[in-house]
């Protein structure tokens, strides 16, 4: 995952310069320090070898604008590690994705700072209008408003690690090679998001294809699908359950995007899915057991009928 995160981090440094690199390094260093000190204070056995602290420290700043003060980003990292990861069981047991929780916390605390994205190449000086905000304002996107190529290469205002879609597609290809099971989460999530975007467009004139493209490329959608939805602790193990989990998160995400308070709500959708999914999985298992039992009973009765005949 860290290798996959390296690609968007490089693009963030390319577009926003040393400010982005400084923010990422500060967050990663503080994540490691917080992990060590938190584990010491909470008397938890610390295991830095799983690199989850570094992942949280790198993922949270990549979801933020480059102009955000470092203390806010570090607060998000601290929340993810000290309030979610360590007290709730650690890397392989925490019921929520720590990076999503950290981002959600700072987006509730400082929404203005978190959702004001500067133009690329201005060093954070000039604030721009992100795609997600334009979509949330209803019919502000028209054909030819934005160049599609700029969107794909990330030359638009947005989160510094999530704006460049081509690089994220490269990360997805890497994931396909390294962890092909996890790609099911991503594809089901993006597929349902795309379907809902095409069915319920939020752009002027209701152009479905453009709506699909804008929705998928705006905000943190692809980034969250790749890095938050595939978290090993919260993601289901079986393939069809992975697909269901991704689809459910997508539905929640698109509903929150349409009716929610914030322009970017994929992290909240992930957290809600984390909370709901264990119960759904329990119901699924129960239903499957009952189905299996009925099938066995039916087969036994069939055999008896055959033997009687």
């Amino acid at each position: 995952m860290l290798v996959m995160l390296a690609l968007p981090a490089v693009m963030a440094c390319y577009y926003h310069g040393l400010a982005a690199l400084r923010l990422i390094l500060i967050c990663m260093a503080s994540a490691v320090l917080l992990e060590i000190s938190g584990a010491f204070l909470m008397r938890c056995p610390r295991d830095l070898r799983d690199l989850s602290a570094l992942f949280i420290g790198a993922a949270i700043p990549l979801m933020l604008p480059v102009s955000i003060p470092a203390r806010i980003a570090v607060t998000g990292v601290a929340f993810g590690i000290l309030a979610v990861k360590l007290p709730l069981g650690g890397t392989f047991s925490a019921p929520f994705v720590p990076a999503a929780a950290g981002f959600a916390f700072i987006s509730i605390c400082w929404p203005a700072a978190v959702f004001s994205y500067p133009l690329a190449g201005t060093g954070g000086a000039v604030e721009g209008e992100s795609l997600a905000r334009m979509l949330s304002q209803g019919t502000s996107i028209r054909p030819n408003t934005i160049n599609v190529f700029d969107i794909l290469i990330g030359n638009v205002p947005g989160p510094m690690g999530a704006a460049c879609i081509i690089v994220l597609l490269g990360s997805m290809a890497f994931m396909l090679l390294r962890n092909p099971r996890a790609i099911v989460n991503v594809l089901s999530f993006l597929g349902v998001c795309a379907t809902m975007a095409a069915l319920f467009p939020r752009i002027y004139g209701g152009l479905r294809l453009l709506s699909l493209m804008m929705e998928l490329c705006s905000g943190l959608l692809v980034f969250a699908a790749l890095f938050l939805l595939t978290d090993p602790a919260t993601s289901p193990k079986k393939l069809y359950r992975r697909a269901m989990y991704g689809a459910m998160t997508a539905v929640i995400c698109m509903l929150l995007r349409r009716f929610g308070r914030f322009e970017e709500s994929v992290c909240f959708a992930v957290l809600i899915s984390n909370a709901i999914w264990p119960q759904i999985e329990r119901w699924l298992k129960r239903a499957l057991k009952e189905h299996e039992k009925k099938r066995k009973e039916a087969s036994v009765t069939d055999k008896e009928a055959v033997s009687d005949a």
């Binding site: 938890c44 610390r46 295991d47 607060t75 007290p87 069981g89 650690g90 047991s93 605390c109």
Partner: protein
């Protein structure tokens, strides 16, 4: 179990106080009346007001429940608690609305709702109606203190972090964490307070730490495996200890009885005749038992089986041993009569 319930009923005043304030803190351990703590106590002023009203209604309700309502029906008791709660809350509400205080807006619906607080009903029904008035008052005081400490500390922390003020006075120029003013912040503060309380109890009151209802998970897979192994070991040890305890409860006279394989059959006149059967060791290896049973059954096969049995019975023990046995028949009756009765029963059974 009856001894435990008896002990619970007869808690000392110190234990009642400690339970109410720390060990079974109403908000952090019993998790009762959370909505007030989470939503309404976002400032210190609101927390002080809510804790004062809660304490007054708790004290009055528990006193009334203990003194007057022990013989009343449950729904009448609960209605009475609500009436008492309203009699405390209404004057405060009228006073604040008359002065046009913003506190009434801050606390919202939760101040009138304190009249029907679950904490009041719980403590009254669980403790006050079973205890005398002084104990009930002490319990009310302890629980009110426990809840008030949590409410006030939560209000203080949330106001300081969420608004950057303390009792309305500005401390920080900018609010450090504005989200702490939301109910979400209340949950966070309560969660961390519960962890702090758990740590406090585990450090300063280690005897009671096992009674706490929640445990913090371990963090990695290897540790989880170790925990599972430890749990299994503890279960096995627990079983072993139970067996040891059972055998330890037996009197010292059990040893010679264990050596004798022949059981004493029960008679209707003997209320505790199965002493040798009770003294059968729990941890004794299982496969030996069928062999003994086989021997006995072989020995008992035949027409003169009762005689063989009796001869074996007497052959394995001396006369002193026989009279040392805590057999009730030998204490109550003549030994010859008891023996004749035993013999008659055996013959009946075997026939």
């Amino acid at each position: 179990m009856p001894e435990q319930t008896k002990q619970r009923k007869e808690l000392s005043p110190r234990e009642i106080f400690l339970n109410g304030v720390i060990l079974t803190n109403p908000l952090l351990v019993q998790v009762v009346g959370l909505c007030v703590a989470v939503t309404a106590s976002s400032t210190l002023k609101a927390a002080l007001l809510l804790s004062a009203v809660l304490s007054a209604s708790l004290l009055l309700c528990e006193a009334a429940a203990s003194a007057l309502l022990k013989s009343a029906v449950q729904f009448i008791r609960v209605a009475t608690y609500m009436a008492i709660g309203l009699s405390v809350a209404c004057p405060v509400i009228f006073f604040l609305s008359g002065r046009g205080s913003p506190l009434l807006v801050n606390t919202g619906i939760y101040l009138p709702l304190l009249a029907a607080n679950s904490l009041v009903a719980l403590r009254c029904e669980k403790f006050a109606i079973k205890a005398d008035v002084p104990r009930s008052l002490l319990d009310a005081l302890a629980n009110a203190l426990g809840a008030s400490i949590v409410l006030i500390s939560s209000g203080l922390a949330r106001e300081l972090l969420g608004a950057g003020t303390l009792y309305g006075r500005e401390i920080f120029g900018e609010a450090p964490l504005p989200a702490m003013q939301m109910p979400f912040g209340g949950f966070l503060v309560l969660g961390f307070s519960a962890v702090t309380l758990k740590l406090f109890i585990s450090i300063f009151m280690p005897d009671h730490s096992a009674e706490m209802p929640f445990r913090i998970k371990k963090t990695n897979r290897s540790q989880m495996k170790k925990d599972k192994d430890n749990d299994r070991d503890q279960e096995l040890r627990g079983k072993g200890q139970e067996a040891d305890n059972l055998s330890a409860r037996e009197p010292a006279a059990a040893k010679p009885v264990q050596e004798r394989p022949v059981p004493v059959p029960s008679t209707p006149e003997q209320p505790k005749p199965a002493l040798p059967v009770q003294k059968e060791p729990v941890h004794e290896p299982v496969p030996k038992k069928p062999k003994k049973k086989k021997e006995i059954s072989d020995a008992q096969s035949g027409k003169n089986r009762p005689k063989q049995f009796v001869s074996e019975f007497y052959g394995t023990m001396s006369e002193d041993d026989l009279f040392e046995m805590p057999d009730i028949t030998f204490e109550q009756k003549d030994p010859d009569e008891a023996f004749a009765q035993l013999l008659a029963e055996l013959t009946e059974k075997n026939d």
